[in-house]
C-alpha cells in the first residue's frame, strides 16, 4: 500500500542543515497495523505527516497504492489523501466552533457527499461510537476520551483505507486509552483498515503487528510484535 524509498526531510537554517529524516525506506502492506516508536525528535511525526501527505519530503520517492505521490501536485495529493486517509491526533484537533455532529459531517462536506447520504453516514458513526446523545455538544463540553472518540469517528467517516494516528492516547488516562486502542484494533481486524500509529507506550505498541523504531531520523529497527515476523530493515 505504501512504499517509501530513500525519504529525506531536512530544513536549512542559513548555512546549516538539520536532517529530520535520513534516507528512510519503508513498505506498509494493506491491512498492516504498524507502530512507530522512538524518542522525541527522532522524526516519528514527520514520517507520519509525509505518509499522510501533509508534508513533503525533501527528497526520495513515495508510492501510495502504486501511485507516485512525490510527482503529484498539491491539489492531486489533497485529493488522494481525502479519499483514502484518516487522521487521529494526540490533541484530538476537533473544530471548536462546530458541534460533534458538524465535526463528523465536515469531511463529507469537503468530499461533496450528498445531504441525505451525509446524514446517514454521520448517524451511523454516532451510533457506532455510542455518542448519539452528544451530537449537539461542542468539543469543549466533552471529556478527553469522548473527544478522541469523535476524532476517530471523524477519521473513519470517509471510509479510509489508511488511518494515521499520532499518539492517539497521549492525552488520555489509561481507561480511555484502552478504549481507543480497542477501537483501532477492531477496525484493523474486522474491516482491514491499515493503521500506522505513533506512540510512546509499549503496551499500546503491542496492539500492532509491527514496530518500527526511529532514532535521529533513521530506522533503528523494524520488528514484528509476534514471533513469526522476520526482523530486519
Amino acid at each position: 500500500m505504501i512504499s517509501l524509498r530513500n525519504i529525506t526531510k531536512s530544513y536549512s537554517h542559513g548555512f546549516s542543515r538539520t536532517f529530520v529524516l535520513r534516507r528512510v525506506s519503508l513498505d506498509v502492506a494493506e491491512g498492516d497495523f504498524i507502530t512507530i516508536m522512538g524518542p522525541s525528535g527522532s522524526g516519528k511525526s514527520t514520517l507520519l505527516h509525509i505518509m499522510g501527505m501533509l508534508d513533503e519530503p525533501s527528497s526520495g520517492e513515495y508510492y501510495f497504492m502504486g501511485e507516485p505521490v512525490h510527482t503529484f501536485s498539491d491539489r492531486k495529493r489533497t485529493d488522494l489523501h481525502r479519499q483514502h486517509i484518516g487522521f487521529v491526533f494526540q490533541a484530538y484537533h476537533l473544530i471548536d466552533d462546530l458541534t460533534v455532529y458538524e465535526n463528523l459531517e465536515t469531511p463529507l462536506l469537503y468530499k461533496k457527499v450528498k445531504g441525505s447520504e451525509r446524514k446517514s453516514l454521520v448517524a451511523e458513526m454516532l451510533d457506532r461510537f455510542n455518542i448519539v446523545a452528544k451530537k449537539d455538544l461542542f468539543p469543549s463540553q466533552l471529556s478527553g476520551g469522548q473527544q478522541q472518540l469523535v476524532g476517530v469517528a471523524r477519521a473513519l467517516i470517509i471510509k479510509p483505507r489508511l488511518i494515521l494516528a499520532d499518539e492517539p492516547t497521549g492525552n488520555l488516562h489509561s481507561g480511555q486509552g484502552d478504549q481507543i486502542m480497542e477501537v483501532l484494533k477492531r477496525l484493523n481486524e474486522e474491516e482491514g483498515v491499515t493503521i500506522v500509529q505513533v506512540t510512546h507506550n509499549d503496551q499500546y505498541a503491542a496492539y500492532g503487528d509491527r514496530v518500527i523504531e526511529l532514532l535521529d531520523g533513521r530506522i533503528e529497527s523494524d520488528r514484528a510484535t509476534t514471533p513469526e515476523t522476520v526482523e530486519g530493515s
Binding site: D55, R75, T78, H93, L98, E105, P107, L109, K112
Partner: protein, 784 residues
C-alpha cells in the same frame, strides 16, 4: 456547503465579539461614507438626464475673446437658429428679470421666475399637470406655475385662471401648472412667464442692440451628431459677418464666437459667467470618489490586518480542516463567506449610520438628499457591501488557506505577513495624515480669505439698491439717510466693490481689462479706502465729473503716477480723462482673481445703490429706521438691503463646504485607522503576554514595557508622516492654485499633522500597552 460556511462564520463572529465589533464598526463607517458619496456622485451624474431628449439638447454659449465665455447669449440669436438651421428641431430662449410680486399685501421677491416661450416644452421634458403646453405661454401676461408655487400662492384653490400681480401692477394670468422641477436640473424654475410679456409683439429681434436682453438658449437638434454641423456653421457665419458683428456690438466683439454645449455636460463641466445657477465641478466628484474609496480601503485594511494577525488562532482550524480533506479553494471560500457575513452586517449598521449622517451631509453640502430604498439603491448598497467583503476578505482568505497544516498543528505561529501588516498600517496613517494636512491648509487658507485686508472696511457697510424712481431723487434720499442718527456716512455709487459697475478695456493694440466703478465724493470715506496720492472728488467742483480716481496698480500700468491732474489720459467713461487721485489697491472680486486696474468715476446717472456706513452699536434700530423711511420714497417696492460682510462670506461658500467635508473625512479616516491600530495592538499584547510576564519577572518596569509595545507602531506613524508630506504638499498646492491670493504651505502644518497623528496613535496604543504591562505576571505565566 454554503450553509455550513455561513453557520461557521456566524459562530466565529459570535465567539470573537471584540474583534468582530472592531471590524464591523470600521467597515460600517467606511461603507456609510462610501455610500453617501456614491449617492452624491450618482445624483450629480444624473443632472438633466430626466429630459427625454436630453442627448439632443444643446445650450448655446458665447465666447467674447478677452471678456471670457458666457452662458447668456443675445436674444436675437434665436431667430437665426429657428430660420437658418435645418438641424435645429426646436429652439427656446429663457431669461430672467428681477421679479417682485405683490400678493396679499406682501412683497414676494421671486428669484426663480423665468421668461420663456412655449418652445421650452418642445425642447425639455417639463410635463404640465394642467394647461396646454402648446398655448400656455403664447399670449402676453400669462404665467405657468409649478405645483408647489401654485400651492404657495393659492393653497388648495384651483390656480388656473387666477392672477398674480407684479409690483408694477401687471396682472399675470395662470395658464398652466407644471410638475415641480426635479432637484437634479441645472436650472430650477418656480414659474414661467410668457416671453412676449417682456418683448411685446415685435418679438426678440428688436432687443439685439441693447445686449441687456441676454438669455439662455437651448436647441433641440435632429440628431446628437448634428451639433458639430451647427457649430461649424456658426463659426462660418460669425467669421463672414465679423465686420457686421463688430459694427453692431462694438469692437470688442471682434473674434467672438458661438459654441454648442451638451445639456448633460452643463452641471459638471460648465463654469461660465452668467450661468443660471452655480454649477458643480467634475473635479469635486473625482476628489470625493477618491476619498470615499480611500476611507473604504482603510476599513478593508483593518479587516485584513486583524484577520491575518489572528492567523495563529485560526491556523489550528485551518490545519485540521486541511487534514480532514479541505482544499485551499474550499477554505478560501469559507473565509470569504465570513468576511461577506461581516460586511453584510456592517451594511446594516452603515445604513443606520447613513440615516444619521444624511442630515449632516446635507447641511455640509447644502443639498436636500433623502434616502430612498428603491430597488436599485438597495442593489447598489448590497453590491458595495459584497465588493467590500470580497476585497477585504480576499487577502486573509488566501493567506489563511495557504498555511501549511503541519506547522499550524504543531502550534507554530506563522511570522509571515508581518511586513505587509506594517505596510498597510503605514498606508492607513499616510492617508489620514494627507487628509489632516489638507484640512489644516484649507482651514488656514479659508481664514486667510476671511481675514485678508481687502483695501476697504467690510463691517457695518450696508448697500441699499435704488429701486423705482429713487434714482431720480437719489440726492434727496442721500440727504435724508445721512440725517439718520445711526448712519455714519452715506455715498451714492454703483455699489459696494464687487457689486455693480462693469468691466471695460484700455489700450488699442493689446486691450487690457479695467474695472469701472461709479461713486460720489463720499465713496472713499464710506468704504474706508485710502487715498495715497492726488485728491478725492470735490463735490463743489462740477468739473470733477471729467476726472477719475484710479487704483495703484492701474496708475502703474497706465503710467499715470506722475500725471495727476493733467488731461490727456485715456478716457474710460464719457469725458472723464483727468486722473485726480490714486487709491490704495482694493479687491473688487473674490481672492480667486488678481486685482485688476480699477477706476472710479463720479457720474450721477450711474448710481444704482446707496452705500452706508453704520454705527456698530445701533445697527438694529438704524435698520428699522431705514425700513420705515423707504415707503415714502418707493411705495411700490419692498425694502431690500445687503451687508457687505454677508456678501463677502458668500463668495467662499464652496470652499467652506469643501473645508467642512474635509474635516469630517479626516476625522473618519483617523477614527478607522485608530480602530484598526487598537485591535492590532490588543492582539499583539495578547500574543506577547508570556513575554511580558517573563520580562516583568526579571524586573522590567511598566514604562519600559509600554515603550516596548508602542515603539514599533509609532515608528510606522512616523514613516507614514514622511510618506504623506510630499503627496499632501502636491495635492494641496494644486488646490491653492485656484486662488490668486493664498497662504504659504509652511513646515509647521506638516509638523502639526504628523504630531496630531502620532498623538492619537500614541493614545490608542498606550491604553492597550499599559493594560498589558500592568497585568499580573503570575497569571500570564500560569496560563501557559
Amino acid at each position: 456547503m454554503l450553509k455550513s460556511y455561513f453557520k461557521i462564520a456566524i459562530r466565529t463572529i459570535r465567539r470573537h465579539k471584540a474583534y468582530a465589533f472592531i471590524n464591523v464598526t470600521g467597515l460600517a463607517v467606511g461603507m456609510a461614507c462610501c455610500l453617501l458619496i456614491l449617492l452624491f456622485v450618482r445624483e450629480e451624474l444624473s443632472y438633466d438626464r430626466f429630459h427625454e431628449k436630453a442627448d439632443r439638447i444643446y445650450r448655446v454659449t458665447w465666447d467674447i475673446g478677452k471678456f471670457g465665455k458666457t452662458a447668456a447669449v443675445p436674444a436675437s440669436m434665436i431667430s437665426r437658429f429657428r430660420e437658418n438651421f435645418p438641424e435645429v428641431e426646436a429652439a427656446t430662449h429663457l431669461t430672467q428679470q428681477r421679479t417682485v410680486i405683490r400678493h396679499n399685501e406682501e412683497w414676494m421677491e421671486e428669484e426663480r421666475f423665468y421668461y420663456t416661450d412655449d418652445a421650452l416644452f418642445d425642447v425639455f421634458t417639463f410635463p404640465l399637470i394642467a394647461g396646454n403646453p402648446e398655448t400656455a405661454l403664447r399670449e402676453p401676461n400669462t404665467i405657468v406655475l409649478t405645483a408647489s408655487t401654485a400651492q404657495r400662492y393659492f393653497g388648495d384653490q384651483n390656480p388656473m385662471g387666477q392672477t398674480i400681480r407684479l409690483h408694477d401692477g401687471t396682472d399675470l394670468r395662470v395658464t398652466g401648472v407644471a410638475k415641480d422641477v426635479p432637484s437634479n436640473a441645472h436650472f430650477t424654475f418656480d414659474a414661467l412667464i410668457s416671453l412676449i410679456t417682456l418683448t411685446g409683439a415685435e418679438g426678440l429681434s428688436v432687443h439685439d442692440q441693447k445686449l441687456g436682453f441676454q438669455g439662455w438658449q437651448y436647441l433641440l437638434l435632429t440628431t446628437p451628431e448634428a451639433a458639430a454641423t451647427v457649430d461649424a456653421k456658426l463659426d462660418e457665419i460669425m467669421s463672414r459677418d465679423s465686420d457686421a458683428v463688430v459694427a453692431y456690438f462694438g469692437w470688442y466683439f471682434d473674434k467672438s464666437t458661438f459654441d454648442l454645449q451638451r445639456l448633460t455636460d452643463i452641471h459638471l463641466y460648465s463654469n461660465l459667467s452668467g450661468e443660471a445657477e452655480p454649477n458643480s465641478d467634475i473635479q469635486y466628484l473625482y476628489i470625493f470618489s477618491l476619498i470615499a474609496l480611500f476611507i473604504l480601503l482603510l476599513a478593508c485594511i483593518n479587516y485584513m490586518n486583524l484577520t491575518t494577525a489572528r492567523s495563529v488562532n485560526r491556523g489550528k482550524e485551518v490545519g485540521v480542516r486541511k487534514v480532514i480533506g479541505a482544499q485551499r479553494g474550499q477554505l478560501a471560500r469559507q473565509f470569504l463567506s465570513e468576511s461577506l457575513v461581516l460586511s453584510l452586517g456592517a451594511l446594516v449598521l452603515a445604513v443606520v449610520l447613513l440615516e444619521v449622517l444624511l442630515p449632516v451631509f446635507n447641511q455640509l453640502l447644502g443639498k436636500t438628499y433623502t434616502l430612498s430604498y428603491a430597488p436599485e439603491t438597495l442593489g447598489l448598497f448590497v453590491a458595495v457591501a459584497l465588493l467590500t467583503g470580497l476585497f477585504a476578505g480576499s487577502y486573509p482568505a488566501f493567506y489563511l488557506a495557504r498555511l501549511t497544516p503541519v506547522r499550524m498543528l504543531r502550534g507554530q505561529s506563522s511570522h509571515g505577513g508581518g511586513w505587509l501588516r506594517k505596510t498597510l498600517v503605514t498606508f492607513q496613517f499616510a492617508i489620514s495624515i494627507v487628509l489632516i494636512i489638507a484640512t489644516l491648509v484649507m482651514q488656514h487658507q479659508l481664514s486667510y480669505l476671511q481675514n485678508k485686508r481687502l483695501g476697504y472696511d467690510t463691517e457695518q457697510i450696508l448697500q441699499i439698491p435704488l429701486r423705482g424712481n429713487l434714482t431720480d431723487q437719489a440726492s434727496v434720499y442721500k440727504e435724508e439717510l445721512s440725517r439718520l442718527p445711526g448712519v455714519v456716512k452715506v455715498s451714492l455709487a454703483s455699489g459696494v466693490p464687487g457689486r455693480g459697475g462693469f468691466v471695460t478695456s484700455y489700450g488699442d493694440d493689446d486691450p487690457q481689462r479695467v474695472r469701472l466703478l461709479f461713486g460720489d465724493a463720499d465713496y472713499l470715506e464710506t468704504m474706508g479706502m485710502t487715498l495715497v496720492d492726488g485728491r478725492n472728488f470735490d463735490p463743489e467742483r462740477s468739473a470733477d465729473t471729467t476726472g477719475f480716481l484710479i487704483n495703484e496698480l492701474g496708475a502703474r500700468h497706465m503710467g499715470l503716477t506722475d500725471k495727476l491732474g493733467q488731461t490727456g489720459a485715456e478716457g474710460f467713461w464719457k469725458q472723464a480723462d483727468i486722473p485726480l487721485g490714486i487709491v490704495s489697491d482694493f479687491h473688487t472680486s473674490s481672492l480667486h482673481e488678481p486685482i485688476i486696474p480699477t477706476v472710479i468715476v463720479m457720474d450721477d446717472g450711474q448710481y444704482r445703490s446707496a452705500v452706508l456706513r453704520l454705527e456698530a452699536q445701533r445697527v438694529a434700530e438704524t435698520l428699522a429706521a431705514l425700513e420705515a423711511m423707504w415707503p415714502r420714497f418707493v411705495p411700490d417696492e419692498p425694502f431690500e438691503y445687503l451687508f457687505l460682510d454677508a456678501l463677502l462670506a458668500d463668495q467662499y461658500r464652496a470652499e467652506q463646504r469643501l473645508g467642512r467635508l474635509f474635516i469630517a473625512f479626516s476625522l473618519l479616516a483617523i477614527l478607522i485607522a485608530c480602530l484598526g491600530l487598537f485591535g492590532l495592538v490588543a492582539f499583539t499584547a495578547e500574543q506577547r503576554t508570556k513575554e511580558i510576564g517573563i520580562r516583568k519577572v526579571f524586573g522590567a518596569t511598566v514604562a519600559s514595557l509600554v515603550t516596548l509595545l508602542s515603539k514599533d507602531f509609532l515608528k510606522l506613524v512616523v514613516v507614514a508622516a514622511v510618506v504623506a508630506a510630499p503627496i499632501a504638499y502636491l495635492a494641496v498646492n494644486r488646490w491653492l492654485q485656484d486662488f490668486a491670493y493664498r497662504v504659504e504651505i509652511s513646515w509647521w502644518i506638516f509638523l502639526m499633522a504628523g504630531l496630531t497623528a502620532l498623538g492619537i496613535a500614541l493614545l490608542t496604543v498606550a491604553y492597550q500597552a499599559i493594560k498589558a504591562a500592568l497585568a499580573d505576571p503570575v497569571e500570564s505565566l500560569r496560563y501557559e
